[in-house]
């Protein structure tokens, strides 16, 4: 048991623990905040593995931005207390549908992840000096080899942003 292994176990326990607790809490805001802690744990794992850039990008994107989206979504979709409750039959139908969709999505994600893990050829760990990934190398790789993917992602995000603006803009009263 070296300090590196102990720190890895600590990170794993915090990440998985908070994620697991987030599944079972009643208070949905608490769930969201615990989820943020889990994301921070994943960032800590990246740091542990020596991937500084990815770790800080993870914090910037997930802890900074995605958490805000989750919290805003929770606040905007809270059930109103004065809303008329739907008929008993529709509730049951909706619940079944939600269960079905949820399990289907979970199964799909699990299949993809497991397939990806199983089919990836893991190289034997390098025994010589650990490779150092400087930010500059990552930038050069992104802007050179993978520039096409970067551009596509950029266009996709711009389209999403424009769509959000169109949806949020007030309609013309004519």
């Amino acid at each position: 048991m070296t300090p590196t292994v102990i720190s890895l176990i600590l990170i794993a326990v915090v990440t998985l623990g908070t994620a697991a607790v987030a599944l079972f809490l009643k208070n949905i805001i608490h769930c969201a905040i615990l989820l943020v802690v889990a994301w921070a744990g994943i960032a800590a794992f990246y740091l542990w593995a020596g991937a500084e850039f990815v770790a800080f990008a993870q914090v910037l994107v997930y802890v900074g931005a995605v958490s805000m989206i989750v919290l805003f979504a929770v606040l905007l979709t809270r059930p109103r207390s004065d809303a008329t409750p739907p008929a008993a039959g529709t509730v049951a139908v909706r619940r079944t549908a939600a269960h079905l969709w949820g399990k289907l999505t979970a199964a799909l994600v699990a299949t993809v992840l497991v397939a990806a893990v199983v089919t990836t050829p893991f190289a034997a760990p390098a025994t010589d000096a650990e490779p150092v990934f400087a930010v500059k190398q990552i930038g050069l790789a992104l802007m050179g080899e993978h520039v096409g993917a970067l551009l596509i992602v950029g266009v996709l995000l711009t389209v999403a942003l424009l769509g959000a603006v169109v949806i949020a803009a007030p309609e013309n009263k004519e």
Partner: protein, 432 residues
Amino acid sequence: MTVDSYTALAKHFAAIVAETTTPTGAAAPAPFLETLPADVLNWVVNFLPDDAHWLRWFLTSIVAIVAILTVFGLTFAFLTVTERKLLGRFQNRYGPNRVRIFGVRVFGFFQPFADAVKALTKEDIVPTAADKVLHLAAPAATVAFSLLGFAVLPYGRHLTALAGMDAALLYFFAAGAASELAIFMAGWSSLNKYSLIAAMRALAQLISYELPLLLVAVPAVMVAGTLSLSGIVEAQGGWLGGVVPHWNIFTPWGFAGAIIFYIAALAECNRCPFDLPEGESEIIAGYLTEYSGFKYALFFMGEYFGMAALSGLGVALFLGGWQAPCEFLQFVPSYVWFYVKLVVVILSFMWMRATLLRLRMDQLMRLAWKCLVPLALVNLATVVFWERTAGWDGPALQAVRWLAALALVVVPFVLLGKTLSAGFGPRKYRYA
């Protein structure tokens, strides 16, 4: 993890310690004061045996943390009283001048100690319906997140807590992004409509102004070719004729960038004229409504730490960090220059607070999205032009370069200002 990789990691930490403690790159023997902090650190760490890498790394971290907390804690304390005194003078009154310790009264500059005692002994009121855990966690998170940024600021030539970090700027912004979460926690857990509204307004403001803040930091990175703040500061070394420093602010893109950064930084740390989240007259101190006693003081502490950290980032990006303004002034230690610049920037923040009026919410949003973001994008184009023409020789080409870059900065600003302010200006005061 094998024993081999463990020793490799330990060596890695030892390298970091060596990097932070031993001055490098100084051709002439560095003056005593310049290397004093590093020497003290070496002296402390050398009490440990040579092969205890983990312990040495741990002790180095602890010393850095204690030093940062002491310096910026005291800075925070005296900034509060300075702000009150300055605001007093701006408003033609004295400000706090009563507190004395053992009969010594230094113009009331012992006020923060009295304030601390008051904040600690005040009753801590928590609303019955509040979410207790989050209500307690919010002020702690505010202070913790605002402190994180200090780790990567280059305080001096040999004085950066995390000198080995490659992605320092990214780390700084990542640490800042988490502070929004703390504000949301404070607003939501109070179970108070004013708190929640204010937290939402604060989030909208912080998210909006983070964009220009990030965008104007990019040119400095492009010119220096590194994300490390020490590297960015070193790239600004040198003087024109020994007098005019090569700071980023003295280039067209740097000047425009510094102004945008200044405005966005004011908004990011909720300072007047952007202090809408805690607008006392509109939303009764916003997300701080349900806080009292020491928790309230903690929020203020976090705010001042955040302000100091952002000012430090601005100093490093645009004002040459620890570089001396003139060549013959280099005998003053570099960390003194950094601190002087930092204090000047913070004092100018206070001046702004005394001078400008609070904006309205829609004005705030318009300024961020319609003005600062496009100008920051234009600034990116300007810096690309500036870098592409770096090889131009001779006074004529240099003049063309400067004029073109200035035009690239000034023309969009004037056009944008004219378009945006069409139909808004000038205001007539009929009853005053």
